[in-house]
């Protein structure tokens, strides 16, 4: 579960990125986070992943209180939150298999577990036949599937997708969103940050709209649109 209570986040220069955000995303929920550039979406993601601490208010993510979290606990928080980025952030010199296995190895998984889990996750995202390819040999859509597989492989309870379709054409975007929904159906909480209004309308999910550091709407897609 992700819970923000009256969260204010100010940066060193004095500008406030969040002005008192309160929201709650339940376990297993699928939720869009929308808002214009500079509205505070990235700050929310950084607060969830422990890159930032709130200036005031409370942030709870999967049992961790981010305002009180110790530095050495942050890696364990991050194991509960998989992140997918617009620019994929894959390691080009590693193969598809190695990119996913790498994410398991660095959290200390045993080789036997890796050999069982990686092919399963790659099959889930539709890359089972491309294990030995390198990211540079793949299309944008395939690279994003690989990034999703990597986020998923450690079985996090939450996945945050930051503009996952930003670099993709509409058809690939739809496929990626369908994949994220499929993963959500398996029980993973999904928070998707996007600018793509068409996808938000198409998938008709709970949508939290942020503007100027405040939640300006929280509800199903139609209600959010009305607020904008």
């Amino acid at each position: 579960m992700i819970q923000f209570t009256d969260v204010i986040k100010s940066y060193a220069q004095g500008n406030k990125a969040l002005n008192g955000v309160s929201m709650q995303i339940e376990d297993g929920e699928f939720c869009f986070l929308i808002g214009p550039s500079g509205s505070g979406k990235s700050t929310i993601i950084k607060l969830i992943t422990g890159e930032l601490k709130p200036t005031s208010g409370a942030v709870h993510v999967n049992g961790y209180s981010l305002e009180r979290i110790r530095k050495r606990e942050i890696p364990y928080l991050r194991r509960t939150v998989g992140v997918v980025f617009q620019d994929y952030r894959l390691i080009d010199k590693m193969t598809v298999y190695e990119n996913v296995a790498f994410a398991m190895r660095v959290v200390g998984a045993k080789e036997k577990e890796i050999k069982e889990r990686v092919p399963y996750v790659l099959e889930l995202v539709g890359l089972e036949g491309k294990m030995n390819r390198h990211p540079t040999e793949m299309s944008g859509g395939e690279q994003q599937r690989l990034a999703i597989a990597r986020a998923l492989v450690n079985n996090p309870s939450t996945i945050i997708a930051d503009e996952p379709t930003g670099n993709l054409d509409p058809e690939r975007s739809f496929e990626i969103m369908a994949l994220l929904q499929e993963i959500n159906n398996l029980g993973t909480t999904m928070l998707v940050v996007t600018h793509d209004q068409n996808l938000v309308k198409l998938f008709h999910k709970r949508t939290i709209a942020i503007d100027d550091g405040l939640v300006v709407n929280d509800g199903l897609e139609d209600e959010s649109n009305e607020a904008e």
């Binding site: 992943t49 050495r72 890696p75 364990y76 991050r78 194991r79 190895r105 660095v106």
Partner: protein, 295 residues
Amino acid sequence: MKLNNLGYLFKEGFRGIFLHGFMSFAAVCVTVACLVIVGSFSALAYNLDVMVQELNQTSEILVYIDSDLSDAEARSIGTKINMLDNVLQARFVSREEALEDFIADHDGDSAFSGVQASDLRHRYVVTLEDNTKMKQTDEQLKQLPGVAKTNAAYELAEGFSTIQDVLHIVSIAVIAVLLVVSLLIISNTVKLAMYDRKDEIAIMKMVGATNGFIRLPFVVEGFTLGMMGAILAFGLEWMGYDALIQKVASVDALQLFHFVPFQELLLPMVAVFGAAGMFVGIVGSWTSIRKFLDV
């Protein structure tokens, strides 16, 4: 960190060396260059020190015996001279031997053809254990009955001591500066290697790797690169040093220079190169990775 991960972490450390071949090559080259410079200067300083010491050992005091004493009395003074604390050896030179040396030194010079043995004194050539105490020993020799005068070049001996002292200070200063410069260069090279892998580190942080887990392969890699650099530098130093000794030995004009064999420098060189390689590798990677871990 689980024990069963250690094997993987060490394997990753070694794999990283080959995976990032060019940066590894650059780091090893820089380590080799810096250590060879430090090692060469240290070897040079050590040899200069030995040479100055040897030159200083050749300083002697000439003790002239009163010409009124008989040959037997003159020879008996040698026992008293040898009993003095700082005297290593007192060699008797009779006035006849002194004349032979004089003639040999001034061979063909007609101005000295009339010099007789009786014009000269019996003398002792006194070598000392510690040339820094030459002045005190000279004073003691002058006090001995039967000694007419002495000739001690203690200004020269003191000059050698001063040269040695200056050499020690300059060597330590230069080696310290070279070591610091080497550390900075190597640390920067390691930083570049880290920068090359900053995306990889960011991904590791993102998926929840602990700092210790991220750091260990880099430290293993840094240590291995440092040691590889140290071993290569040591081999080059040895080969270069031996080649230099052979070259010096083959040139007549350079016979004055006497270099100690590398075997004499072996242990300190192994210790210094090993410690420096390990230190720059581990400290360089440990400190360089810190800023990339702060995500």
